[in-house]
């Protein structure tokens, strides 16, 4: 299986190893094996594989991870540039947590 990798050196993922408690939750939720465990703390092993889904940040009980999460979807970016909501892409990138969807 060829491992697909997107652009290099662009991902916003950061891990504060001082805050990390080593619970390993981030390793469990990451769909691209970006994080690995090093004795007592996690570390970022493969940053370029990160797709900024934000699963690790959301599930980190220690708040040790930061990432500007969003959906890597050009259609959604174009829609937001044009001030449209939703559109063709299933995912829109309104990051506010109001739970508003492009329902109507």
């Amino acid at each position: 299986m060829i491992n697909l990798v997107y652009l290099k050196n662009v991902v916003t993922l950061r891990l504060d190893e001082g805050k990390c408690t080593g619970c390993g939750m981030c390793l469990e939720v990451c769909p691209h094996g970006v994080l690995k465990m090093n004795n007592s703390a996690a570390f970022i092993q493969n940053r370029d594989a990160c797709m900024e889904c934000g699963a690790c940040r959301r599930n980190c009980p220690a708040g040790a991870i930061t990432v500007q999460s969003g959906v890597g979807c050009a259609t959604a970016v174009i829609n937001s540039l044009l001030g449209r909501k939703g559109g063709d892409c299933c995912c829109s990138i309104d990051s506010d947590d109001t739970g508003k969807s492009g329902c109507c």
Binding site: L4, V11, E28, A55, N59, V71, G72, C91, G99, S101
Partner: protein, 388 residues
């Protein structure tokens, strides 16, 4: 983020069940507390009694009607309204010790789950994600912590099962803070495998996923099923633009309108259609083998190959300026179109980051617009030259 700094005694850190009832044109206004799924949904085969009332029952077998629904959704027919009612369902004949699986109320997500579990008895808790799949809904936050906590309470789950474990798809993790769910509902979130078909193995191993179950891949089959929706969406634009090119191809040139339209106009339509196929069919199929990391680059590459191929077949007279200009035009337009469509496939892929997409678009979108616009001007000029 700062939820945890406040310590354990800060329930205000999370907005618990406050129902912002946004009026929604097609939503049935019944989906708040205590709501149970409607029993007249076609896939429900009965009810089973529990301490929290009757729970609608579904089977781990998909009917022809379910499969046809999936086909239609893949083609974009009524896709945004392909839903099941949120709430708790019984898969087979579950009891108090059966596992609880959580999913989205997109019908295809629901069907994937129950169809992948032959012979298993389980509870399925469906969250209200407005008919969006788990992954996209988690990104939006509708497959989220609050909705999960609210659904657990509304379904009376604590009275239906004796254990306190939930199994969520791993791809729901961007929307769910497992530690908050535990804190506010008492239920422990276990992230299951990415693919529903791995669930039996995950359950058999005592809710343990192998490393391979946790990695999201993007194999040919997964890319191929996305082609119809991409192609259909692009064809909507194509059907508007194609007649314009057919007409413009006819109005200038030495021959009659009909002859010109048949030659230049029809070639234009063929070229545009080939560009659409390049961006929406060939790009997904050949994705890992195309050069470049940026999707636009993959699309540009396909566009150049297609343009070269079409112009070779056309065999225009390259001695004439009109022939050269026409060739140049298509070397601009076809890559612009296929590059743009390929770029839009980032949203369907399973590995592009938003930061990466923004960086790509920053240079690629202007290039696509400029090449497309320049190509149209050059093409029309080639028609005018030919008319002299």
């Amino acid at each position: 983020m700062d939820k945890n700094k406040n310590g354990l005694h800060a329930p205000s850190a999370i907005k618990l069940p406050i129902f912002q009832d946004e009026p929604c044109c097609n939503a049935v206004k019944n989906d708040v507390t205590g709501a149970t799924p409607r029993l007249d949904q076609p896939f429900i085969t009965g009810t089973i009694p529990t301490k929290a009332g009757n729970v609608p029952q579904v089977q781990p077998v998909l009917t022809r009607r379910d499969r046809w629904g999936s086909v239609k959704a893949r083609l974009g027919i009524d896709r945004m309204n392909y839903k099941v009612d949120p709430g708790l369902y019984a898969l087979g004949n579950p009891d108090t010790s059966s596992p609880v699986l959580v999913t989205a109320n997109y019908k295809m997500s629901f069907d994937r789950l129950r169809g992948g579990l032959p012979g298993l008895n389980a509870w399925i808790l469906v969250l209200d994600t407005k008919g969006i799949n788990v992954w996209c809904a988690a990104g939006k936050g509708t497959f989220g912590t609050e909705e999960l906590i609210r659904r657990i309470a509304a379904s009376g789950l604590q009275n239906i099962v004796s254990h306190r474990n939930l199994i969520l798809p791993q791809l729901g993790a961007p929307g769910i803070a497992a530690h908050s769910v535990k804190k506010f509902s008492g239920f422990r979130v276990n992230y299951g495998p990415i693919r529903a078909e791995d669930l039996p193995a995950y359950l058999a191993a005592g809710m343990k996923a192998t490393a391979a179950m946790r990695i999201m891949t993007f194999p040919l089959k997964d890319r191929a099923v996305l082609i119809p929706i991409e192609f259909v969406e692009a064809m909507k634009a194509f059907l508007i633009i194609a007649p314009v090119f057919l007409f413009l191809g006819g109005i200038a040139g030495s021959g009659s309108f009909g002859a010109n339209a048949a030659s230049h106009g029809l070639f234009a339509v063929t070229a545009l259609l080939s560009a659409v196929i390049g961006g929406t069919v060939l790009n997904p199929l050949l994705l890992p083998y195309l050069p470049g990391r940026a999707f636009s680059v993959k699309g540009f590459f396909l566009g150049f190959v297609i343009a070269f191929f079409l112009l070779y077949l056309r065999g225009s007279n390259m001695q004439l300026w009109s022939g050269r200009a026409e060739a140049a035009a298509w070397f601009l337009i076809i890559p612009a179109v296929s590059g743009y469509l390929a770029m839009n496939f980032t949203g369907c892929s399973t590995y592009t980051s938003l930061s990466g997409v923004k960086r790509e678009m920053h240079w690629a979108l202007p290039v696509q617009i400029a090449a497309g616009a320049a190509g149209i001007v050059v093409w029309f000029a080639s028609r005018l030259i030919a008319g002299e």
